[in-house]
């Protein structure tokens, strides 16, 4: 019944309780919203909720007298479902910060609502670089990764290592087209050539026709400007049609370690992709994985989970410094003021446009022989330093940036 009662009714009930001094109704409420049952449920899903919980524990919130509650919700990758959940969360359930939200269409919708209600939005799962560009707000911080960094990382690094002719297999909707556009620009800028593209309807199931066209182009690199099950199916079917055996390489422009896991190394070997975090890079990461995986059906944490952990940690730091969680703008301003430091991403900063700054990594998927077991999938091919990985501050068109 709680969801349906109006704020007026709740206020009446609330007025009877004694509120703690600083925090809105005494509790810092963190809402983790993502895809709990669909294509992205492994790379975010319940794992993000677990990561948030771990962050709160490690921060020692209880000892510091901060009461923190975590709620989770499934947006089913639909902007209207996500909007409804967040609206109810912020209006009725007194949630203070919304975290994760993969699927850019949902993130963009949530972005507006959070700004209107002056709460905080920490994006880990979504990719749209617009969140720190034209759509930037003083209430949002974009963690983990974005389309620009992916395009830049993958595109540049591949061209520099000899992959200089490209053919794009693009999902024909805003996200896929943006990914294609950004990567094509990077390829051309670095001296490569785009031989052509084919735009497949979104979502697709059968890519054989499009893969044949990619094959016929004889481009050295076939760029997959799609995501989720489209990417997985493209890679699987490419393997069936002997594309990689025929000498071309696939570049997944948006892929996660969970996708490689779903494909298996036999099919995914040789795939090149950019991520901002990998569980086997250092001891801190490995420890994190060791804690999270058993709670999440053995699935190893992705960069999205790590981003949630890092973002929640920094948020709590800012809230502690301000001794309040009511004013979203103030909290985000604090987050930009304080440097970040956590076991997973190390030291970094949050820029004026809401962009979290950290290095990016170019990985190549190991062959079955090279792997020591499940989840040992990546070889590090290159590290892109933090100051080169992201779109330059002035170029995004964010109104918060004074030029």
């Amino acid at each position: 019944m709680k969801r349906l009662l109006s704020p007026a009714a709740l206020a009446l009930i609330g007025a009877c309780t004694v509120a703690h001094a600083q925090y809105t109704d005494g509790v810092i409420r963190i809402g983790v919203m993502n895809d709990m049952s669909g294509t992205y449920s492994d790379l975010s899903g319940q794992g993000s909720v677990i990561a948030a919980r771990m962050a709160v524990e490690d921060f020692g919130a209880a000892k510091k007298g901060m009461k923190v509650e975590i709620v989770g919700a499934d947006h089913q990758n639909k902007p209207d479902v996500g909007s409804n959940v967040v609206r109810t969360w912020l209006d009725v359930d007194r949630v203070d910060v919304v975290v994760d939200v993969p699927t850019s269409s949902v993130a963009l919708a949530v972005n507006q609502i959070v700004r209107d209600k002056n709460k905080v939005f920490l994006v880990s799962g979504a990719a749209a670089s617009d969140l720190t560009g034209a759509a930037c707000t003083p209430n949002t911080v974009h963690w983990t990764y974005d389309t620009w960094a992916l395009a830049n990382g993958t595109g540049q690094a591949i061209v520099k290592t000899g992959g200089n002719t490209w053919f794009f297999l693009t999902a024909n909707y805003a996200f896929g087209l943006a990914l294609e556009r950004d990567t094509a620009a990077v390829v051309v800028k670095n001296g490569g050539k785009v031989l052509g593209q084919v735009r497949h309807p979104f979502p697709g199931t059968d890519f054989s026709s499009f893969l044949l066209q990619a094959q016929a182009s004889r481009a050295k690199i076939i760029g997959l400007a799609n995501a989720g099950s489209d990417t997985i199916n493209s890679i699987k079917q490419a393997s069936e049609f002997g594309i990689v055996k025929g000498g071309q390489n696939l570049a997944a422009l948006l892929a996660f370690i969970t996708d490689v896991h779903a494909l298996g190394l036999q099919t995914a070997q040789g795939l090149i992709m950019t991520e901002s975090w990998y569980w086997d890079l250092n001891d801190n990461n490995r420890a994190f994985a060791k804690r999270l995986a058993p709670q999440f059906k053995g699935i190893h944490p992705t960069m999205v989970h790590a981003g949630v952990y890092s973002a929640v940690t920094h948020y709590l730091k800012a809230v502690e410094a301000l001794k309040s969680d009511g004013d979203g703008k103030a909290i985000v301003a604090k987050m930009k003021e304080l440097p970040t430091d956590d076991p997973l991403f190390g030291q970094g900063t949050v820029r004026a446009d809401g962009r979290k700054i950290h290095p990016m990594y170019l990985f190549e998927v190991k062959t079955p022989k090279e792997s020591r077991g499940a989840w040992d999938y990546y070889k590090l091919r290159a590290t892109i330093p933090a100051d080169q990985a992201w779109r330059p501050l002035g170029e995004g068109g964010c109104p918060l940036v004074k030029s």
């Binding site: 009662l5 499934d74 209006d91 049609f241």
Partner: protein, 626 residues
């Protein structure tokens, strides 16, 4: 080696071959649908779900019994076919005496139940199925490398399709089937157990779907949604080929697969809509389908008169509509004070859907036409109004008006195309056209595709009232709802409305009385579309978002559900139904995919047991007109 339109002949042959692969699935599935439709006169909406079950059964056989692909090819169709037999005995057999559309509604509900259950258990991302040893690798044909798995699909489907065709058209058993399709009563009077034949035929059609699912498993993977997207395309294939024609279904399936394959080469963005476009064209010039025999639905209504799509109220309504007036006042009073107790945003959502359902009820309850594509009007009005408010900066009242006009325009076009056909054809056309516009919405730039149109400003009503204030917004929505409700009521109870009801009862008689029924139906359709548009346009302003969900076919299904639950052909039924369903879904959001299952169960329950709906039942109990 030669070139056609910039594609080498080699590449072209490769694409043709791939088209045949897709065509194989289309052919198998449309064959099953055609067989079922021929015998049962039911469009088996659950066909996609049964295809999916076939694939899942293959996985279970492997996981739990260690039985591989080749076993699954035989066992899965038997198992799923058996489940089909159970469905026919439990549910479908009660529908043969009713209007054909109930079959569509029931199987739609079953599809929701099946898909929802599997989605719950397995999530939406799906499971992989290993490629069997014998099918790994491929042949280098020179112009392409053809994986063995794909070659197998083509060969196996051809074999199954042709064998089925042969059995039906050339054997004794087939002669029984064909005769029973034509005149089941007479065949039964010869001593043949026709009901059992019907049951087995349904089981066979379902088994074909499951077989296709098994064949799809190693190639496309297995996920609970694999059938839902495919089924609408297959419907279009069956309509193009001509319902009830076996060879038609096979040839059309393969043919359209090839055409779609070619479209992927020359115009890939359109490849998922080309089949619908072809369907619209075929319906215009050759409505019975390319291979159809031109038999109308009426041939099957042999002896017993069928109950019309909405059973008229049990007793003659009293002369005055005093009860309706009282109910209206009561409803208004409740809605005026409701925001004090209930979350206003929730109420506004319910009101928008209530209006949508009232608009839909105008068409189904009073004219007797089941549109399965009303989301088209709702969603596109939503886009139009969002665009007008956000990009053109129109004030909300003009934005909503614009949205309604866009819906009316679409209503005119779709209505003009669809009204040409009756019953199930009408439902299929509306479904296909709506799906076509859905795909268009995904790709068109101004709809924002997956993002939708976000950040729609609420604006100031008449330049005066700031709708960002929740209360003002609520009362505006309430006013729109009440106003539209009254207009619809007036339409229903006007001379025009009486003609519509006459058309619903007995169209030939209405024609013989001199009424141009097509014009009346078209006008009713446009009115229904317009008010659906008002609902959608208002919703966009309230939620400041217009998204793909509003144009997708589940939305069309939802409004049918609301109207059905509330009570077809009653004035207040749609309102009650909308509030009921919206509340239900609100409570069920935390159980995720079970919502689908619950919706499906309500569909099934309503069609079988509760055709009057809530208000209809209330009317019967209290003998009062509502």
């Amino acid at each position: 080696m030669f070139e056609i339109l910039g594609i080498s002949s080699q590449a072209l042959f490769g694409q043709l071959l791939i088209g045949l692969i897709n065509g194989s699935f289309y052919a198998l599935l449309s064959l099953g649908l055609a067989v079922i439709f021929g015998m049962l006169n039911i469009i088996n909406f659950a066909h996609g779900a049964q295809y999916m079950m076939g694939a899942f059964v293959a996985i279970f056989l492997l996981q739990y019994l260690g039985l591989g692909y080749w076993w699954a090819l035989v066992l899965a169709p038997i198992i799923v076919g058996a489940s089909g037999i159970v469905i026919e005995r439990l549910f479908l057999q009660w529908l043969y005496k009713l209007d054909h559309l109930y079959g569509l509604l029931l199987t739609f509900g079953l599809a929701l139940i099946i898909e929802g259950t599997f989605r719950n258990q397995f999530g939406s991302s799906g499971l992989p199925y290993p490629m069997p040893e014998a099918l790994r690798g491929g042949q280098n044909l020179g112009f392409m490398f053809l994986p063995n798995s794909r070659a197998w699909v083509i060969v196996a489907s051809l074999a199954v399709c042709l064998t089925t065709w042969f059995v039906i058209e050339r054997t004794r058993l087939g002669s029984y089937l064909r005769a029973a399709t034509e005149n089941p009563t007479l065949v039964r009077a010869f001593g043949i157990n026709v009901p059992r034949m019907i049951t087995l035929t349904y089981g066979f059609g379902v088994a074909l779907a499951a077989l296709a699912g098994v064949m799809a498993a190693p190639i496309y993977g297995v996920n609970p949604q694999m059938g839902a997207n495919l089924i609408i395309v297959v419907f279009a294939v069956v309509v193009i080929g001509g319902m009830g024609s076996i060879m038609g279904a096979i040839v059309t399936g393969f043919g359209l697969g090839v055409i779609e394959g070619l479209t992927k080469v020359f115009f890939p963005e359109a490849s998922n809509t080309v089949i619908f476009v072809i369907m619209a064209i075929v319906l215009l010039i050759r409505p019975a389908g390319l291979f159809g025999r031109g038999r109308e639905m009426t041939e099957h209504t042999a002896t017993a008169p069928k109950t019309a799509i909405n059973p008229p109220p049990a007793m003659a309504p009293p002369a005055t509509s005093r009860s309706e007036a009282v109910a209206f006042v009561l409803m208004t009073a409740i809605l005026l004070v409701a925001p004090l107790i209930v979350y206003p945003v929730f109420l506004m959502k319910a009101l928008c859907f209530a209006l949508f359902a009232c608009a839909f009820n105008l068409l189904l309850g009073y004219v007797g036409l089941l549109s399965f594509g009303h989301a088209l009007f709702f969603g596109w009005a939503s886009y139009a109004s969002a665009h007008a408010a956000k990009v053109w900066g129109l004030p909300p009242e003009l934005a909503i008006l614009f949205g309604a006009m866009v819906a009316a325009g679409f209503g005119l076009i779709v209505g003009a195309l669809a009204i040409r056909r009756q019953g199930i054809y009408f439902a299929m056309i509306t479904l296909a056209l709506a799906q076509m516009m859905f795909f268009f919405a995904v790709q068109a730039p101004f709809t924002g595709g997956e993002d939708g149109i976000q950040g729609v400003p609420r604006g100031r009503l008449f330049g005066l009232i700031d709708l960002a204030d929740q209360t003002s917004m609520y009362f505006t929505v309430l006013a729109i709802f009440l106003g539209s409700f009254l207009i619809i009521y007036r339409i229903i109870n006007s001379p025009f409305g009486e003609v519509l009801k006459a058309i619903r009862e007995n169209e030939p008689r209405a024609i013989s009385l001199g009424y141009r029924t097509d014009r009346y139906k078209l006008l009713a359709f446009v009115l229904s579309a317009t008010f659906a548009g008002v609902a959608g346009a208002t919703k966009a302003i309230v939620f400041q978002l217009a998204s793909l969900t509003d144009v997708d076919w589940p939305m069309s299904g939802e409004v049918i559900l609301m109207t059905l639950v509330g009570g077809l052909g009653t004035v207040f039924g749609p309102v009650v139904g909308a509030f009921f369903i919206v509340t239900l879904e609100n409570y069920l959001t935390h159980i995720g995919q079970w919502v689908l299952v619950v919706q499906g169960m309500i569909f099934v329950a309503c069609v079988l047991l509760f055709r009057r709906g809530i208000v209809g039942a209330l009317m019967r109990l209290t003998r009062v007109k509502l």
